[in-house]
């Protein structure tokens, strides 16, 4: 550190040594206590500017409403997504086989219920058809035997 460098740093960081970077502050100690008239006047000028700047150090605190609005800006895409059924099923902590078993049973049950409903529906349709025929004039006088006569005997 020499006088010229010290004066340069003084213009950069001001007259308060605490604001100087640690590494150069240690080297500048003697210059801060110098009697050199140029250094003394330079320190005074920088201290005057520091005083003015220091009066502006403190600003009003941020408002609660601005803080709240900043938190509200978190986009919805960042919010946790709804878990898929498969993920929730996985979280049951059952073994993979029991999970597979559950899925299989559910599928079989579904197919079984569906098949039973289909059979029941088909039977209902047949009865409905028969009743429709029975209600027509052409077939209303037929006896029970005639109803089931397929004509194969002739």
């Amino acid at each position: 550190m020499n006088k010229e460098k010290f004066l340069n740093y003084l213009e950069v960081y001001g007259a308060d040594p605490k604001r100087w970077p640690d590494d150069i502050r240690a080297l500048a100690a003697d210059f801060f206590n110098s009697d050199d008239i140029e250094i003394v006047s330079a320190i005074s000028a920088e201290r005057a500017l520091d005083g003015m700047l220091d009066s502006e150090l403190e600003l009003a605190p941020i408002s609660v409403s601005l803080e709240a609005s900043l938190i509200d800006l978190v986009p919805s895409s960042n919010r946790p997504k709804k878990e898929k059924f498969s993920q929730r099923l996985g979280k049951l902590k059952a073994s993979k086989w029991s999970t597979a078993g559950l899925i299989g049973a559910a599928l079989m049950g579904g197919v079984g219920v569906g098949y039973a409903q289909a059979v029941e529906q088909a039977e209902l349709n047949a009865v409905h058809t028969m009743l429709t025929y029975a209600s027509t004039e052409e077939f209303s006088d037929l006896s029970d035997n005639e109803w089931f006569d397929t004509g194969e005997a002739e």
Binding site: D16, S41, I43, L70, N78
Partner: protein, 198 residues
């Protein structure tokens, strides 16, 4: 582990997965400084608040892609802030100046308050006349007390370039504020009271 004790980087990652509590901690930690940098660079409260919102929106949007250990959060945050302010300053100005709210010193007399307000207005006017990058350097290093190395990183320049901005900014302020070396010559004993402690 308590959320409050988590690092910024971990909190940003949590925001990325939708954690609003992490977002609220980050806002409480950093919004004041973002607003202050914006206030000093823009000298307009409404614009400073707008920039603060823009900056945090950028943070939230980037959070999902944030990788812990890749960058220091505050350096990145302050870089986004300075760049947002520089963008604003380069846009054509509309409307009038909306003054930055000051902290009222209740202990001061009305005359003292008036004098302080007048000094404050002169300084603010001088600050607005500084080139924008000099203003940014002073805002980061002097007012926000960010180290020269980090401020240089924020502004994406070398430490030498930052020091050059600082000295030119301070020199210009001294000229505008009539802080003249010759006028300020003081007795040696007073000048030596620098507060230097080694």
């Amino acid at each position: 582990m308590q959320m409050q004790s988590l690092s910024d980087e971990v909190l940003v990652e949590k925001v990325g997965s939708g954690d609003r509590q992490a977002a609220s901690i980050l806002v409480r930690r950093h919004s004041q400084r973002v607003l202050n940098i914006s206030r000093r660079m823009l000298s307009n409260e409404a614009e400073a608040e707008d920039v603060t919102q823009d900056v945090f929106l950028k943070v939230w949007n980037a959070a999902a892609k944030w990788e812990v250990g890749k960058a220091k959060f505050t350096t990145w945050l302050h870089r986004v802030t300075v760049n947002a302010c520089l963008d604003r300053l380069r846009k054509p100005k509309m409307g009038n100046v909306d003054h930055i709210p000051e902290v009222v010193d209740e202990a001061a007399t009305p005359v003292e308050r008036l004098e302080a307000k007048s000094r404050s207005n002169i300084l603010k006017r001088a600050m607005t006349q500084l080139p924008e990058r000099q203003r940014a350097a002073l805002s980061l290093c002097y007012f926000e007390e960010i180290s020269n190395i980090e401020a240089a990183e924020i502004m994406e320049i070398s430490v030498d370039a930052l020091e050059s901005l600082l000295s030119r900014g301070r020199r210009k302020l001294k000229e505008m504020l009539n802080v003249d070396k010759e006028d300020l010559l003081v007795p040696n004993s007073q000048a030596k009271a620098t507060g230097f402690e080694g």
